[in-house]
Point group: C2
Chain length 226, copies 2
């Protein structure tokens, strides 16, 4: 299993620039061998990033086949997943990452689509993808931008934890790792490590939620397969 | 058009009991002629409400055919819409409300499913309904629990307004009425009136958002048809 993933909660941290809070981890992750990174936005339009942008290629599948590294950024998760299916990119990205060891970095929506499904996205369902099943690079789900309840709030909408608990009311639903802003997960083969500056909250179906500090070994989450 | 709808933003307002903030409007809405109300929860399980609960009937479609009034409450909008389709209730509810004039009250998720689609729900997509198209009792969408941005927040997730703007980046998307907690919309035939204690924020595709105070006539939203 050559899998190498860097799954980031959020693209921008309060007070910082785009990907500023994970710049060091990104450099370590892609290293010196990767010279060009293929960028996949939620809309196949230009975002002005200094990498190969998949929407500028005539053949997106071919671009994935040739990619040295893949970065899928933020945006609307429903639109992103629909775009991935519309362009037949899901199986090819999965093959490249799991079989060829091409490093995959996701941020926010790009983290969601790397997991089992987008059932635990925070985004508004502005479009209808053909399925909520995602690329499946790991055998669990992630909730990016994980947010603790605000005890002073008078808003009566469900808390994030309540929403994830609703998900676990459904049968056969995988664990959900709540990645707070500032945290990220590094996956290397069968090893998973929590990085960043904030704790993560893990929800396993039928069990109490548990907290993990940066540096924690979360490899047990990968044991279920893929 | 016999349509009579009471579309409530939220089931519980901070500091009050279940439906306490709209008790008066509910009594005025159903009046003295309606003796029994059919209640449709998001899961077809008992919620202990003093009305006919649809999940206790052997034949949910028949229950809708006989209903004097319909109330669809809160819960997860995806699970609710999927349950409505799984039990073939969408066309029958639409017929009863639009043709027979059966009063329909929705709250939160029950308000979402009464509109064109659930594309503007706040809920987590914990299940995959066969479509996001909803009952279509009005020709626009509603965002219940509408929430203004918190200027003191350091959280970097999209604001509610940004999410609705993302929806309007998609072609042919209807207007979205943001109903803040405490507000509700009364629809009688071709007349729509904002009720409650809070303003509503209207998003029309390609136009600046506008605010409406309680008592405002929003009938123009119904002019697009249905």
């Amino acid at each position: 299993m050559k899998r190498r993933l860097l799954l980031v909660s959020n693209s921008t941290l309060h007070g910082g620039g785009y990907l500023g809070h994970c710049e060091k981890q990104i450099q370590e992750f892609f290293g010196e061998n990767v010279k060009r990174i293929l960028f996949v936005p939620d809309k196949l339009q230009s975002l002005g990033y200094a990498v190969d942008s998949i929407h500028e290629t005539a053949d997106p599948v071919e671009a994935v086949k040739k990619a040295e590294g893949i970065f899928i950024g933020g945006g609307n998760t429903f639109r992103l997943l629909k775009a991935l299916y519309d362009h037949n990119l899901v199986p090819e990205i999965k093959r490249r990452v799991l079989q060829d060891g091409v490093p995959y970095m996701g941020s926010s929506a790009g983290t969601n689509v790397s997991t089992v499904s987008i059932n635990t996205t925070n985004d508004m369902p502005i479009v209808y993808p053909p399925t909520l099943a995602a690329i499946g690079l790991v055998p669990f789900n992630i909730n990016p931008h994980y947010l603790d309840p605000d005890p002073s709030s008078k808003h009566m909408g469900e808390t994030r934890e309540q929403r994830i608990q609703q998900y676990h009311e459904e049968p056969n639903t995988p664990s959900v790792l709540g990645l707070r802003e500032g945290s990220m997960l590094l996956v290397e083969g069968q090893k998973a490590t929590l990085l960043g500056t904030t704790k993560a909250r893990l929800f396993a179906r039928g069990k109490p939620a548990t907290e993990y500090t940066p540096g924690s070994d979360l490899s047990f989450l990968l044991a279920e397969g893929v």
